[in-house]
Subunit: 342 residues, 4 copies
């Protein structure tokens, strides 16, 4: 059994991790921390976990995290970078669901996140945990940077086009729509039901923290700098991201074959038949990413539709997938969830 | 392996059955029928099942249902009663998710369902499949009448009070609220998104088909006739039923203890701590029923809150629970689902 | 022109007041106060008011409210009671949308609201502003207590039965369902979209602040004490209250006629035809209350369905209706809104 | 008073027309037709209109439409083209909310709509009713083609850029998101609540009927052919369209000034301040279009955000605006609606 700790178990990525880990046959949950809720039974805060998770929240000090085999950080940005070094030194493998280790360029990270980075050396060794591109490095990672939700959907959607070098890399467009849970479980007015239900809006058009993360990934795939316009939107649903991607074709290519070949054998990427329109509910509560590729009117603009559940493949599920890879377990363990639809 | 057929796999109870059965380690799905969609891959209609269910819909004639060990009817009312006798004669055990075998009084059934019953003799032997009250009879049932969604939530909620005889049985009130999936996957104007979102209404106040089913159950629990006012409502959510039950106490009793004792050991009924308000999302996609019991201001009115997922404990999940009981399998097989929340 | 000030314009009742008052031909909006947002244009906070409301928020001190003819308090509980006496002394008529003047029994108010009341003498003279029962007193009110949202829907629904004395007054039941805007525009976790969408729950079963307000009203109608069980629920929609009311008939009576006669001539109460099920969307954004009365299976339980828009007839609309009555204006001025449906 | 008839009053554009026209001080509603519902009171089908619209549905034959001054067609495509000639001959001015007269190129229309056009000559004289570009022609129109919902939001959003010739016209992208009411009030499975709530999808990526309409408009603005990729999406809300538009800048220009100048004086287009993100709810139930223009990171990609209520500015409201222009009435008559938010 892998002894696992979860730091920051009171947000949506935290409770989603617990949903998945509580059914993981090779994981023993040993501690879930929360400064604010220490002493409270986890299932009192999340009744969906009644009978599934018997632990109480403990303070980080009481958690004995250094006795764990792996620790997940489901915390706000800036926490994992404070604690990771100590854990790594104790032989604990760290999986950060926040952004602390995602951006290699420290200056760029500090610009977007407005903090001084506490562990630049760990950033240098951290592995960006997108299994479809980095499975080998993930196996041995001591610090794993779990990708963001938008970046997962956008990078997987663009991956075949950018790797193959068949599109204008200077003018990629990602128009992405997220369910409200992507904003987290913080008490804030804009994500109140009465503010975000029955309405739709863009946000962060002038700049969103996931822009540099996506750009970094696409640049790696391309082996050269890319230009990206990224417009996130808030849509009145709880879970799900739908990324609609636009690129200008520079070479004629069988797009359907390109996508099917690139993702052949991937357990969590489903290239749908030509002409498909994946719905976010088709992946709800599951770790799947479904992708369809279109070329409207046979023109030179390619349109890619990529959907994930932001809390699963976009966060907790991908983190468990990474845990499985890191510990040499069958990759889909505890992730064999049939999407919940309707 | 239990060979299983599903008749009528294109509705919500059908696709939910497939979600559950596709992960059942002791079930082999051998046929899913649909007159209208024969020849179509099941996963083309329900992309959430891509990679999970490889079958195509077949016509009932091509399904060789008499070679199955068990056949589920996820059909409109009036279909199972036509086909059950032949299957039973062939040694197939029948689980009907519709209403054909739920009401013992044939005349009452015909009044509410507006049809002549085709198999009154099977009604006589059919077992009403509420495991919490009839587990023993279920084991040997040849024809199992799977309870309706409202009846499941209301009967479980009232059960301890009515069995114990501590309330005025002549004036029970069930104010029940259902998500829209309870109305099925039929193309009808009132359940369009634009008709039922962001609005709330009662319906069927003068009489709803689940009234006689609930009254029959409560009468059995009480051993005497009961009077029930049942008001169903449509609430703008996909899944879930919240039943709010009112009864007049006629004896002083420790309500919390009464409920906890009655449901001790039940795998799918969770009596919540005193003062709780269960949310429907706390059981979403799972087979759980969560119940809380209140006595406001210490008066003589008891208020019971009972929530289920109408498609799981209110339909497909309870049907699988019944299958497990009927075939001597561990009762929660394939039902070990952690509720999806948020 | 009536000079009007609004204290506390940043919540939902505040913005709804502005929506209505901005189209009122006899009202001049002179000041909208907000301590926290002073200096900000109202339409920067509420873009729906762009081009409609040109004012900026001002501090209460800068508002010169004592120069107004009428001042609305759209504030949290406990504010109006601090400021009303000064305004009344200056000849300003006060309309409080919060609860400060709703409960005549000061001790009862202090128990439920957890504060010491600052102006018990004004409570004594305040008029409870339900036009359908108190139109005459409203005309001359100096301090008007605008009813709560649940209390409006429940009192109007029970009014004919209780006035006529045809039901068991000791055991009234109000099962009420509210849209999430009823909880206000406060940053709190339980009313986040991801917490309250696609789910349904009861709350406050052991006691809710609207219980004493409703009980006081019903007691006045009856001329004797009443017993009431009140269970509020949260339903995933923005606006609307649906109250489902249950009472035991003690006299045989033509319920439809009783309701039609009681509300004949009322501009904002619509008694629907026998057998109707009013939907909350049928009153969305309007000041209407629609009511239907049922007697299921001809038994002795009467079921009343009463729907309002909680922000209009349940708050700002009723406040404008009261303003119109107080200033001798045609009662429906600025309230001639056709409900928005779908 | 202008005598007005409405053909096809049972869909969403029909009931929305009635909401608006019932408050129009210079309109007398004389007939609302419906083949299927003739004899039924309009307010029995739409309780929101109780007390507002006293008419019953009549058959087209009984409607005496040729005695009207204006007739609106709120019908499926292909109806108005059958009846318009007769009405025009009788001196009636026709406003078609469907697509029959929107596309000048008959062959193109027939290709996309799959019908032979019954009145090509009327197409030739019909005026495309986008007031912001064609106010003068609208004044004298005998047949007015009311624009589609997507086309209104996309054309208004692109208009200043395309007219000014400052973008690459060959590669415009419109990523548009619509509420479900855009699909109409037809009983169909994909727009059931349980199918479209809490999910998001693209549709019609290979080709949507609004593509040729938008392309025709943009071509007119540009004075030369344009290339457009148009991807519509379904978002789980009732009303609203959010168009996110992308274009490559070919000249440096003050975008904010360009937009403000182009729409100066327009009563129903609101250019928001720099950096804004208009929400669809900020125009809910109103005839406003709100637009914001962005240039992310100062690059050469311009992003325009354009929101409307699809049933108002995208259908019935624009039709009333056109009626007002055609009959020389103040353009915003009956359209002075403050958006309903929250």
């Amino acid at each position: 059994m892998i002894k696992v700790g979860v730091v920051g178990g009171t947000g949506y990525t935290g409770v989603e991790l617990l949903r998945l880990l509580s059914r993981h046959p090779q994981v023993e949950l040993v501690a879930i921390t929360s400064r604010g809720e220490a002493g409270m039974a986890v299932s009192d805060m999340f009744p969906s976990l009644r009978g599934r998770v018997g632990l109480k929240f403990v303070t980080p000090q009481d958690a004995a995290l250094d006795k764990c085999d792996a620790v997940f950080f489901a915390t706000p940005n800036g926490i994992a970078m404070q604690q990771a070094a100590g854990l790594v030194a104790a032989g604990v493998r760290v999986i950060d669901l926040a952004a602390d280790f995602r951006i290699s360029d420290i200056a760029e990270w500090e610009k977007w996140y407005g903090m001084t980075h506490a562990a630049p050396d760990l950033v240098a060794e951290a592995v960006y945990g997108l299994p479809e591109t980095s499975r080998e490095q993930i196996r041995t990672a001591r610090v794993l940077a779990n990708p963001g939700c938008y970046p997962t959907s956008v990078q997987l959607g663009f991956l075949p086009l950018v790797e193959a070098g068949v599109v204008d890399l200077a003018h990629l467009i990602a128009d992405a729509k997220s369910g409200v849970s992507g904003a987290g479980r913080k008490a804030e007015v804009p994500t109140l039901f009465s503010e975000s239900a029955d309405s739709f809006k863009a946000y962060g058009v002038s700049g969103h923290r996931h822009l540099p993360e996506i750009r970094q990934g696409l640049t790696r795939f391309a082996g050269q700098p890319v230009g990206l316009t990224f417009v996130p939107h808030l849509t009145p649903m709880i879970r799900g991201i739908h990324a609609t991607l636009y690129a200008r074709l520079t070479k004629d290519v069988d797009l359907q074959a390109l996508y099917e070949q690139r993702f052949a054998g991937e357990p969590f990427v489903d290239v749908m038949p030509q002409g498909s329109h994946p719905e976010t509910r088709s992946v709800r509560a599951s770790n799947m990413c479904r992708i369809a590729v279109h070329r409207p009117q046979g023109g030179d603009t390619v349109v890619v539709l990529s959907v994930i559940d932001n809390l699963v493949k976009g966060a907790a599920g991908q983190a468990v997938q990474n845990l499985n890879i890191m510990f040499g377990i069958e990759e889909s363990t505890a992730l064999d969830i049939v999407p919940v639809s309707p």
